[in-house]
Subunit: 314 residues, 2 copies
């Protein structure tokens, strides 16, 4: 059976023709015409679907269902986008509009949630029913799969794990609150922490690595820490403590099988995962008496949203 | 139809004969023989059931199902208690053991979770599908109902909202971590905060109220704050900020319809609820664009566990 997964982003819309096992037969993308009326954007998506099936020598009659991941607040039950930050979507009945073009069952979800479902079905969470995916990027995105299903909150407004508090009254967050996890454990936060440390320790190896890369990035402190630089290690240790703190809150609430970490920072691999795992083992509620929660790297990268959109249909 | 709800506590075991609408026909309790072998405790529970149905002139053949709330980690799928802190239960197949005495469908759950289900079905959460119950007592208990069902985590080890972090590296918590919500927003924490404030402000009205009651309690600072005492107001305002902080984290993750507050502190009523509501409105993610979350007082008090145990059966 053939499904189409659509990953709508502020810059581009990616689509894939995929089967129920997550095998990808065709993949294409178009630029997001973000300022256009929603009907024009939906038309672009329908055209993308046609072009995907044609590449495989099929027609839209061969499609069993279409899934879409959308960056915003989504009511998956009514098929309406409440609002999307980066695109001109507000109260958009996208499922109804899309089915004017291609009339097959169509499912929608928030992009971070959908990507989590993709990891659970087809990625590093395969075989587990209870999976949390944490994306450490510009912000922190979280997707929460409970008993094989997305936990999205009322009208899709939940699963905003980046905005749980970890330090009351702490760093200001873009959401208007202070002390959110995102304000301490996103890549953006790590870069800020690294810059502050460089100012205090101009002799740190971090300076060298930042000069080589031409900027301070999420890698700078890790590169220095791996070479045993004291200031670099201090930044990384504090950062890992911040990341683990939010993960432990999620573990205590959801007690999943596995927490998957994605986003640019996850490229630090085992160095990062092992250190987080140790803190999760030590500080999660109930210690060894409670079931162990694994910390692993997410696998699907850029395809997570597209594959997760397919998983929405299954 | 008749159901029996059992609320197992470290001190007593409460039972009720209840119908599907939550009408209670009989209510009894026995002392928990906490040090006995589990088979003796289960026998006591079965005897309690017999005594409940006899009071109404029925037999155990009239019981449709039995539900039990248990203080510990519960595997509701296998019917086995992983462990219970206050009772001599470890790896106890309580459902199997109970059905040796009364062979009807029997359901078990963690006591805090079950009490939340009771509030959602029969109490202040009636009519809502997504309900969080927060009990501010010696610790903080949380029960989370998503789409009408308990969210318990793997092997019942989730929904430990008292142990989400709100201040990394902060006050030590009984769980071994620092900065847990429970360490700031439980009644125990409020009493500690009140005592500290009294030491600094020996002229505060809090001193008078503590003397009248013969001790510092969860009420002391509220009594003073209501009479406009500056130090009392400072304690209450800080405490409300702590309570709201943890609630906002829960709102951002679950976006429920309503958060119900129970436990001794909830007797502060509207004074407390309105102030928490204001912070939740202001600081929850997405502000007014996201669905509003109500903050209300829980209703069922001591019957929540027993009625929730019945709700497990429905």
């Amino acid at each position: 059976m053939y499904y189409i997964g659509i990953d709508i982003g502020g810059m581009s819309i990616k689509g894939g023709l995929v089967d129920e096992n997550g095998v990808v037969y065709a993949k294409k993308s178009v630029v997001t015409n973000a300022q256009a009326h929603y009907s024009a954007i939906v038309k672009d998506i329908a055209d993308l679907c046609v072009s995907l099936v044609e590449e495989k020598g099929l027609t839209t009659a061969d499609i069993t269902a279409v899934g879409m991941g959308i960056p915003g607040t989504i009511n998956s039950k009514t098929g309406v986008i409440t609002y999307a930050n980066n695109i001109n979507f507000e109260k958009v009945p996208i499922v109804k509009e899309f089915r004017k073009h291609i009339d097959v069952p169509t499912f929608i979800g928030n992009d971070a949630n959908v990507a989590a479902l993709g990891e659970q079905r087809f990625g590093a969470g395969k075989g587990y029913n209870d999976v949390i995916v944490v994306t450490l990027g510009t912000g922190i995105g979280t997707g929460i799969v409970v008993d094989g299903k997305l936990m999205e909150g009322k009208m899709g407004a939940g699963a905003e794990g980046g905005h749980i508090g970890i330090k009351i009254g702490g760093e200001p967050c873009s959401c208007g609150k202070r002390g959110c996890w995102e304000a301490y454990a996103s890549a953006t936060a790590l870069i800020r922490q690294t810059k502050r440390a460089i100012e205090k320790h101009p002799d740190s190896l971090m300076v060298k690595f930042a000069e080589e890369e031409g900027k301070v990035s999420g890698k700078t402190a890790f590169l220095a820490a791996r070479e045993d630089d004291a200031a670099g290690k201090a930044v990384v240790n504090a950062y890992i403590r911040y990341v683990a703190e939010g993960i432990i809150s999620h573990v205590n609430l959801f007690r999943p099988d596995v927490v998957l970490i994605g986003g640019g920072i996850s490229n630090e691999g085992d160095y990062l995962m092992e250190r987080i795992q140790r803190r999760v083992n030590r500080y999660s509620y109930g210690g060894h008496r409670n079931p162990r929660v694994l910390v692993r790297k997410a696998e699907l990268k850029n395809d997570a949203g597209m594959l997760g959109a397919v998983a929405l249909c299954l």
